[in-house]
């Protein structure tokens, strides 16, 4: 099925949810409200003519100052059987950065959602094990947000694990390893 036909199909089925359909370089992305994202994904996964059985990717997006709703979550779906692709984008507002988890539809979304939570601070409701994944548990801030500085939070706000290592290195330096 052509990607634009899939987008029209979603619009026919969920007319209130679809905000925008965009095509760029033969790739179609459908912007959605976040409310019924699980229903939409379940429909795309189960419908025999669509059968989006493979979630290629899930990632967060930060449109700070560019769009009304700051965040978005991108679902990149593919059907191994029909060999067609569609991208869904669910808008998430800054005041309440949370969205329902689609782990009941695709089991492989587990770590993608954890990473999105880690990097953007978007909470996935219903995820069984939502912890930070790439960064340490006690890290502060969400690095892929546009207001997070590239070089980190600054010299006096270093992560505690790093300052601990520096302290330890200092102590070991003072220790006399070759005492008689």
């Amino acid at each position: 099925m052509q990607p634009i036909a899939i987008a029209e199909n979603i619009k026919d089925r969920f007319p209130e949810e679809v905000l925008d359909i965009r095509e760029f370089r033969e790739q179609v992305s459908v912007t959605l409200k976040k409310g019924r994202i699980v229903d939409i994904c379940r429909y795309l996964h189960d419908d025999p003519s669509l059968y989006m059985d493979f979630l290629v990717d899930l990632c967060g997006l930060d449109y700070k100052g560019k769009k009304e709703n700051r965040f978005a979550v991108l679902y990149n779906l593919y059907s191994v059987e029909h060999r067609h692709r569609i991208m869904l984008k669910a808008e998430v507002e800054e005041s309440e950065p949370s969205i329902d988890s689609v782990i009941s539809v695709w089991r492989g979304v587990d770590w993608h959602e954890r990473e999105c939570f880690d990097m953007f601070g978007i909470v996935f409701k219903g995820h069984p094990d939502l912890r930070r994944i790439l960064l340490p548990e006690d890290w502060e801030g969400h690095p892929l947000r546009k207001d997070y500085p590239l070089k980190g939070p600054g010299p006096d706000m270093e992560w505690k694990g790093f300052t601990d290592v520096l302290d330890r290195a200092k102590r070991y330096k003072e220790f006399d390893w070759y005492q008689k």
């Binding site: 760029f24 370089r25 790439l134 960064l135």
Partner: protein
């Protein structure tokens, strides 16, 4: 007598928690698995990743499209050529340009060489983990030859950055082609040697047959790609069904497994190496003449000799390097088949020379997440077989 009485009592076991890695040599990098063991059986397995996190996506957002290319070398550092090919294909799609035919063939050749070198090192380390030392030594010797060829090609052996947006950095030499063709003709006999050592080996089969079984539907649902998915019998290969570069002009088969156990995944990857060899042979024979950089002055750097002679070209290069090209607003996702699976780059452009968002869909990240599914309920010795069979590189997993 007291001691003898004690042994008559029922032997009490308790659940033991051990941490495998991050420095364990069999975890292929810095993967840490916390295993809860009941005797020798794994009750629960929790992977921890992120020890190698360098923030590639954040760095990519702060560099121009040209300057972010070397970041992709450092993803999967044992097949950097394939990552480069994936990156430049995605950027070309975003720019709306196309590389000339000769560049496409060269990229296909080097990508398949990268696949060979990565699969060879996978074969060597996987069998080494399980206890066979000999294939590892032979495999490293064959990989060395490919790295030497890369050195002839571009001067670098590991982090190559050879493909460029709009083509490749330099044309290939006759010496490279001759040596490559000799290697290609010789390689099938080497593969036969490896297979003699491993494929029908009884110890090998005992350790891999019916280990880490994952069904077809489950493999797709978990988002597996590459050899790990095809081992479960799913006919999905990006090269075949969404061809990029010259893959639509060469013939090759996509091997698939039946059961989805470690042994099937091994067979699939071994056959993939033979197919990669076949692709290289066809590409060398069909290699067309012509330019190796696209004629798209707005998006590609001008040739070096023109920069040194001509003022306009110098200004043009300065603008492209400092500001980056002006790109249409939009977003693209391009997936390519790297040795580990499907490596996808997703770009959001806001019209400037830097990507607004650069996302790397890393196959190793997804494959590491499936570890609990494969290991739980099995023996601790099978954990090592499973790590080898999903073929992960932590540089790509942690990004």
């Amino acid at each position: 007598m007291q001691e003898l009485d004690d042994t008559d009592k029922t032997f009490e076991t308790k659940e033991l928690t051990i941490s495998l890695g991050p420095q364990h040599p069999a975890t292929h990098g810095v993967l840490r698995l916390v295993l809860h063991l009941n005797g020798e059986t794994v009750v629960k397995c929790t992977p921890y990743v992120g020890y190698l996190h360098r923030g590639v996506e954040k760095l990519g957002e702060n560099r121009t499209y040209f300057a972010a290319l070397p970041l992709s070398d450092r993803l999967d550092y044992i097949s950097s050529m394939n990552n480069n090919v994936g990156y430049v294909n995605a950027v070309e799609k975003l720019f709306g340009i196309e590389a000339p035919a000769r560049a496409k063939f060269i990229r296909t050749i080097v990508a398949e060489m990268g696949r060979l070198s990565s699969h060879i090192i996978w074969l060597g380390t996987h069998v080494l983990d399980i206890g066979a030392t000999t294939p590892f030594l032979h495999a490293m010797a064959a990989r060395e030859k490919i790295l030497d060829l890369f050195e002839i090609l571009c001067g670098a052996r590991l982090t190559v950055s050879y493909p460029r947006v709009g083509g490749v950095r330099n044309d290939i030499s006759q010496q490279f082609l001759d040596e490559l063709y000799d290697f290609v003709l010789d390689f099938p006999s080497k593969m036969d040697d490896y297979e003699t050592l491993v494929t029908e080996n009884r110890i090998w089969k005992d350790r891999t047959v019916d280990i880490g079984v994952i069904s077809r539907e489950e493999a797709i649902n978990w988002g597996l790609t590459g050899g790990t998915l095809r081992g479960s019998g799913v006919d999905y290969d990006v090269r075949k069904y969404a061809p990029y570069d010259a893959y639509d002009q060469v013939e090759f088969d996509v091997p698939v497994g039946k059961k989805g156990d470690c042994y099937d995944r091994y067979l699939v990857r071994v056959e993939e190496m033979r197919q990669a060899n076949r692709i290289i042979k066809q590409c060398v024979e069909k290699l067309p003449a012509g330019a190796v950089m696209a004629d798209a002055p707005k998006f590609t750097l001008p040739p070096k000799d023109m920069i040194l002679k001509d003022m306009e070209h110098l200004i043009h290069q300065f603008i492209l390097i400092t500001k980056g090209p002006s790109v249409a607003e939009g977003e693209v996702y391009v997936g390519t088949e790297v040795p580990k699976g499907e490596l996808g780059f997703y770009f959001v452009s806001d019209g400037t020379g830097k990507p607004y968002r650069m996302r790397v869909r890393a196959p190793s990240f997804v494959h590491a997440s499936v570890m609990p599914r494969l290991c739980e309920g099995g023996l601790i010795a099978d954990v090592i077989a499973n790590i080898g069979t999903i073929d992960i590189v932590l540089g790509e997993c942690d990004r």
